[in-house]
C-alpha cells in the first residue's frame, strides 16, 4: 500500500501535465485533478488498506483486554516480524494459571480417575 501511495506521489504530476486542457465542472481538468482527484486517491487507498488489513490480519481488532488474555499464547504478529516467545504475563498470576491447567486436566480425566482431587481455579 505504501508503494501505491509513493507511486501516486511520483506519477500524479506527470499525469497532470499530460491531461487534456478541457473543463470539468467548469474548471480546468488539471486543477480538478490536483484539488480533488489526488486527495481522493489517497483517501481511497487508505480505506482500501483498512479493509485489507481487517480481512488479512486477525490481530487487527484486538483491544487491550484481548491482548492480555492472549499473551499466554504468543502470536507471530504479521506486521511486527519479531520472533515471539512465551512471555509470562504479569497480569495473570502463575497460581491462577496452574489452577486452570489443573482443572482442565481434571476435566479431561473425569472418566478415568475419580479419586483425583478437584481444584477449583481462583
Amino acid at each position: 500500500m505504501a508503494l501505491l501511495i509513493l507511486a501516486a506521489l511520483i506519477g500524479a504530476p506527470l499525469f497532470a501535465t499530460r491531461l487534456p486542457s478541457n473543463l470539468i465542472m467548469g474548471l480546468p481538468s488539471t486543477l480538478v485533478f490536483l484539488a480533488i482527484g489526488m486527495p481522493a486517491i489517497f483517501l481511497v487507498l487508505a480505506i482500501f488498506k483498512i479493509s485489507l488489513q481487517h480481512g488479512l490480519d486477525r490481530n487487527y481488532e484486538l483491544d487491550r483486554e484481548d491482548q492480555l488474555q492472549r499473551r499466554r499464547v504468543p502470536k507471530r504478529l504479521k506486521a511486527f516480524p519479531v520472533k515471539a516467545i512465551d512471555v509470562p504475563d504479569p497480569d495473570i498470576p502463575e497460581t491462577e494459571s496452574a489452577g486452570m491447567r489443573e482443572k482442565t486436566r481434571e476435566n479431561e480425566n473425569a472418566g478415568t480417575d475419580q479419586s483425583s482431587p478437584v481444584k477449583v481455579a481462583g
Binding site: M1, A2, I5, L6, A8, L9, I10, A12, P13, L14, A16, T17, S21, L23, M25, G26, L27, P28, T30, L31, L34, A35, I36, M38, P39, A40, F42, L43, L45, A46, I47, K49, I50, Q53, H54, N59, Y60, E61, L62, D63, R64, L77, A79, F80, P81, V82, K83, A84, I85, V87, P88
Partner: protein, 604 residues
C-alpha cells in the same frame, strides 16, 4: 462523550457569531467584535485546560487511549496543516498557481503514508512516545539520544516556523506589540498543557479545529453570497473562473494584457520533477513527524488509529479543495476592478492599496507611494491583474482589506472570524509540537536515556516543567536577532523540519517496524547517513559555499525542484539503503532484540 462536547462547542460558536453579527448591525464597534472573538479563543484554551486536567500518566502521554476516530482525525488534520495550511497555502496558489499544490498534496500523501507504514503498528506496540518504540526495538541509548536530538530539531523548526505567522496577525488585527502577543499565546497554550498534557492538547486541537472550519469557510461563503447570491463558494468557483478568463481575453483584445495572462490555474510547469520531488520529500517528512505519530497513539485500538487516518484525509481533502476557491474569487475581483486602470489614477481609484501594511507588490515593487509605482510601472501604464502580486504569507491577512477596498462590503464579524481561524490553527499545531518536545525531555531523555528508575509521578511532573521550559525556549528563539531573516520565510523553516524528519527518522521507523533483521548498528547507520545527506541537500539548496562542489553534481539532477522541500528525499533513500545494507552485513546480536531482553528479564 467528546463528540457531545464538541457538538455543544459548535452550537455555542454559531450562536455567538450570530449575536456578534447582530450587535455589529446595531452599532457595535469593529474593534470590540475582534476582541470578543479572540476572547472566545482564549476561553477555549482555558476550557481545555480545566476540562482536561489530570495527573494520570496515560493521560499526560497518550490521552488515556480515549480518542475516537473522528475527533482524532480532526486533530491530526490540524497538526498536519496548522497556520501554514490556513494562512499560507491559499496565497501560494494565488501567487504560484498549480505549483502551489506541491506542499498541500505532499502533506496529504504523508498522512496516508504514515497510515500505511507506521500507525497501527505503533499503536499496537503500546509505547508512550514514538521514540520509545525505537528504544525498545533496538535497545540502544545512543540511538535514542540521536533520535531525540533529530526529532527535537525537526519539531523546533516546525514550531518556530508556524508560530512566526503570529507576527503578521498581531500587527494587522491588534495594537499590541508582536512580542507581547507572543507571550500571551505561549502562556495561553502552556497553561492547559501543564494541567492536562496530551489530554489537554487533544481538547485544544479539537476545539480549535471547529474555529478553523468556521473561519476558513464563513468568509468564503460571504464572498460567494456577495458575488453570486448563493453562499456556496465551491459551486460558484467555476463561474468566477470563467468570468476571470473572459475579462482577461477582453484585456488581451484591448492590448492591455499578454496572451499568456489568459491562462490561469490551467497548466502545471513543464518540469514536473519540481512538483514530484517536492511532494515526495514533504510526504516522507510528514509521515515520520513525531507529533503526528503521537496523535495516532491516542486511540483505543489499532483499527481506530487507522480510521483516524481516514478521517484526517477527509478533512484534508475538504481543505485542499477549498484552497483554490480563495484564489479564484480574489483573482476575479482584482481582474474586474483593476484591469485597465491607469497607474496615475491609482491614488483616486484604489486608495486602499496605500493603506495596507505589507505583502502587496505592484509591477514588481512593494506598495509604498504613488510616485514609486509610476516609476516602476511606467508613466500612463494601464494595469492588469498580473501587475498586482500578493505575498503568500500576507494573503489571508490582506484579503479582507482588499475585498473591502474593491468596494465589496464585508462585516467585521466575518473578517475577525477569518483572523480567529488563523490563530486557532496556530494554537493547534503549536500545542502538538510543545507537548511532543516535553515528552522527549521527560520520558525519552530523562527516564529512558539517563536510565533513572524514577516513579511515573516524577516523570509526569517533569512533563509539566518541560512545557514551561519549551515555552521559554520558543520565546527566546523567536526574539533572537540572528533568526530574524529566517522568520520572514516561515514556510522554509517548516519544510526544513519535515526534511530533517524525513532523513533522520523515516529510515529508522521503517527498519524498526518492517525489517526484522535490523539491529542497532543498522538503525544508527541509517539515522546518521540520512541526516547527513539531508543537511548536505539543504546546504546545496540554500547555496551555501561549503557545498559548492556537491551542488555542481546534484543540481542537474533535481532541476528547479524546491530545494528544501525535496531535501529530505535523498536523505531518506540513502538512510534506508544504508540501513538495509548494514542489516544484511552486520547480523543482529540476540541480546539486542526486544525478545531476548524480555527473556533475560523473565529469567530473573
Amino acid at each position: 462523550m467528546r463528540l457531545r462536547v464538541l457538538n455543544s462547542f459548535l452550537i455555542g460558536t454559531v450562536i455567538l457569531l450570530g449575536i456578534l453579527g447582530l450587535l455589529e448591525r446595531l452599532g457595535l464597534s469593529s474593534d470590540l467584535v475582534t476582541r470578543l472573538l479572540f476572547a472566545l479563543l482564549l476561553v477555549s484554551l482555558v476550557f481545555s485546560g480545566v476540562r482536561a486536567r489530570s495527573v494520570r500518566t496515560t493521560d499526560m502521554f497518550v490521552d488515556g487511549y480515549r480518542m475516537t476516530p473522528l475527533p482524532n482525525g480532526l486533530a491530526m488534520a490540524m497538526v498536519a496543516t496548522g497556520a501554514l495550511g490556513y494562512s499560507f497555502w491559499p496565497g501560494e496558489i494565488f501567487a504560484n498557481q498549480l505549483s502551489g499544490f506541491t506542499v498541500p498534496l505532499g502533506v496529504i500523501g504523508g498522512v496516508a503514508l504514515m497510515g500505511a507504514l507506521f500507525v497501527p503498528f505503533l499503536r499496537r506496540a503500546d509505547v508512550l512516545t514514538p521514540l520509545e518504540l525505537l528504544q525498545q526495538r533496538f535497545n540502544s541509548r545512543i540511538l535514542l539520544l540521536l533520535a531525540t536530538v533529530i526529532s527535537a530539531t525537526a519539531i523546533l523548526c516546525v514550531l518556530v516556523g508556524q508560530i512566526s505567522f503570529l507576527f503578521n496577525l498581531s500587527s494587522r488585527f491588534t495594537t499590541v506589540a508582536p512580542e507581547s502577543a507572543l507571550i500571551v499565546i505561549l502562556v495561553g497554550i502552556s497553561l492547559p498543557l501543564v494541567l492536562g498534557g496530551m489530554r489537554a492538547a487533544s481538547w485544544l486541537q479539537m476545539t480549535m479545529a471547529i474555529l478553523v472550519g468556521f473561519g476558513f469557510l464563513l468568509f468564503l461563503a460571504w464572498i460567494a453570497l456577495d458575488l453570486t447570491g448563493l453562499p456556496m463558494p465551491h459551486l460558484s468557483a467555476s463561474d468566477a473562473w470563467t468570468a476571470t478568463r473572459l475579462l482577461q481575453e477582453d484585456a488581451v483584445l484591448r492590448d492591455l494584457a499578454q496572451p499568456s495572462d489568459v491562462s490561469w490555474l490551467e497548466m502545471l510547469p513543464a518540469d514536473w520533477r519540481m512538483i514530484s520531488l517536492g511532494m515526495l520529500g514533504v510526504a516522507l517528512g510528514v509521515s515520520a513527524f513525531p507529533p503526528l505519530l503521537a496523535r495516532a497513539q491516542t486511540t483505543r485500538t489499532a483499527k481506530e488509529s487507522d480510521a483516524s487516518i481516514g478521517w484526517a484525509l477527509v478533512f484534508l481533502l475538504a481543505l485542499v479543495c477549498t484552497l483554490p476557491v480563495y484564489a479564484i474569487f480574489l483573482k476575479y475581483q482584482i481582474t474586474q476592478s483593476i484591469t485597465g486602470l491607469s497607474v496615475n489614477s491609482l491614488g483616486r481609484e484604489a486608495p486602499f492599496l496605500f493603506s495596507m501594511t505589507s505583502g502587496l507588490s505592484l509591477c514588481g515593487i512593494p506598495v509604498s507611494n504613488l510616485q514609486e509605482f509610476i516609476s516602476a510601472c511606467g508613466e500612463g501604464h494601464r494595469l492588469t491583474a498580473s501587475d498586482l502580486q500578493i505575498a503568500p504569507m500576507a494573503f489571508m491577512t490582506a484579503l479582507p482589506d482588499i475585498i473591502v477596498g474593491l468596494g465589496r462590503p464585508v462585516p467585521q464579524t466575518m473578517a475577525a472570524m477569518l483572523a480567529c481561524g488563523a490563530l486557532a490553527a496556530l494554537v493547534a499545531v503549536v500545542s502538538a509540537c510543545m507537548i511532543s518536545l516535553s515528552h522527549h525531555v521527560a520520558l525519552d531523555l530523562y527516564a529512558k536515556f539517563l536510565g533513572t528508575s524514577s516513579p511515573m509521578s516524577r516523570i509526569v511532573f517533569l512533563v509539566r516543567l518541560s512545557v514551561i521550559g519549551v515555552a521559554v525556549a520558543t520565546y527566546w528563539l523567536l526574539t533572537w536577532p540572528p533568526l530574524n531573516p529566517y522568520l520572514q520565510h516561515p514556510e522554509m523553516l517548516i519544510l526544513a523540519g519535515f526534511a530533517i524528519a524525513a532523513g533522520g527518522l523515516f529510515p529508522s521507523f521503517c527498519l524498526a517496524i518492517w525489517i526484522g533483521r535490523a539491529g542497532q548498528i543498522a538503525a544508527l547507520g541509517a539515522m546518521v547517513v540520512g541526516t547527513a545527506i539531508t543537511i548536505a541537500m539543504m546546504g546545496i539548496g540554500l547555496g551555501l559555499d561549503q557545498f559548492g562542489s556537491l551542488s555542481a553534481i546534484v543540481q542537474p539532477l533535481i532541476g528547479d525542484a524546491y530545494p528544501i522541500a525535496a531535501a529530505g528525499l535523498p536523505g531518506a533513500i540513502a538512510g534506508l539503503v544504508s540501513g538495509l545494507v548494514l542489516a544484511i552485513v552486520v547480523p543482529t546480536r540476540k541480546p539486542d532484540t526486544i525478545s531476548a531482553r524480555l527473556s533475560g528479564q523473565a529469567e530473573h
